[in-house]
Subunit: 190 residues, 2 copies
DNA sequence: TAGTATGCGGACCCATGGTCCGTTTGCAAC
DNA sequence: GTTGCAAACGGACCATGGGTCCGCATACTA
């Protein structure tokens, strides 16, 4: 994230190393066993460097998630339909949820780590807010009578770490996205 | 919870004191500032006693929640309709969700504390499992075609600590239960 | 090549969950 | 009462992990 134009060469190198290390530890051990000490060690930098770069544990995981979500964000903001602005809200919402399903399924450990890093006041997390704003706006457009704010949170709850883990652990790789589609369709069509 | 017939008098007294202390701290400070040291201090017992009684932080909050949920559990298992077994699934589910809304609204801090205590593998928590089993069975009965397991988790996600806090912080005391009713109705009738 | 802002790293601090064990105490048998 | 002991107590102690600090190193600039 944030290439920060004026960044010194060693700083940039370390930033990449830290992100890569966190990613690797997340993949190897669960979300729960990634301490910043270990991240620093694996990245080959001091602990202080991690904090200077990312401010906190929360900041680190947010950066990691934001990096992963960049493409999706761009597609939503200015891409072609069905993700982009020109598609009708129903299709756009379904397309967005599909993409998010894939993202979540591919990054289970990251989602879980990010979740617990944001445990108090998860609604404050920028990525979550962006997603929620998007979903809420689409719901409000498609169904002006509903509590779009509430339903937005509910739809995004489909990507809760435990739920994604459960839904993808059954050998049926598409169950998650299928069930979410069904849910969203129901909510939009009723 | 668990009166444990053979329990010594001092043990019983301390158990009650600990639960009361936890409850009080939860109410006074947020869910995040309740350390077991403080609970022990406020209860007027040693830290070891807290752990001997409840095993862990998770165990303590589970006991607290279970205590609060006892009445609801009994009503579901053997009470009169609409909560009890003799009511039709639709009404039964709506009644259950209503009760849970009230419970959640009255115990926001506890819900939040319990949530983070069960952060890894929340589906392992006995109270959550009981609720989910109940909801899932009712959904499956009313709508055999749906992914009842998934929808059960989604419905229960309505009682996420942050969401409850948000929904009740707007001055409109009934928004939570209204929106959940609407959601459940939609899911059951589609 | 020298000067400076930027970055580095790891020792350090502290909060907190969890353990351990010597001491105390409730309870029951006599 | 007295006594014996299982049960419970409590708080010192440990390990972990997030976060801070500051003297030292180094990438850039003129």
């Amino acid at each position: 994230m944030t290439p920060a134009t004026g960044e010194r060469a060693d700083a940039a190198r370390n930033r990449r190393a830290i992100l890569a290390a966190a990613e690797r530890l997340l993949a190897e051990h669960g979300a729960q066993h990634v301490s910043l000490d270990r991240v620093a060690a694996v990245a080959g930098v001091g602990k202080g460097t991690v904090f200077r770069r990312f401010g906190s544990r929360t900041g680190l995981f947010h950066a990691l998630l934001a990096e992963r979500a960049t493409r999706l964000r761009e597609a939503i903001e200015s891409g072609p339909p069905p993700l982009g602005p020109s598609a009708p809200p129903r299709e756009r919402l379904l397309a967005f949820l599909d993409e998010l399903s894939g993202l979540a399924a591919r990054n289970i450990a990251l989602i879980a780590a990010h979740e617990r890093a944001c445990a108090d006041d998860k609604y404050a997390d920028p990525t979550y807010r962006r997603w929620h704003d998007h979903v809420r706006a689409l719901i409000a457009e498609a169904r002006p009578d509903a509590d779009a704010h509430f339903l937005g949170h509910i739809l995004l709850a489909s990507f809760d770490g435990d739920l994604v883990r459960y839904m993808t652990a059954q050998g049926d790789a598409n169950r998650l996205s299928r069930s979410i589609r069904a849910l969203a369709t129901t909510l939009l069509n009723s």
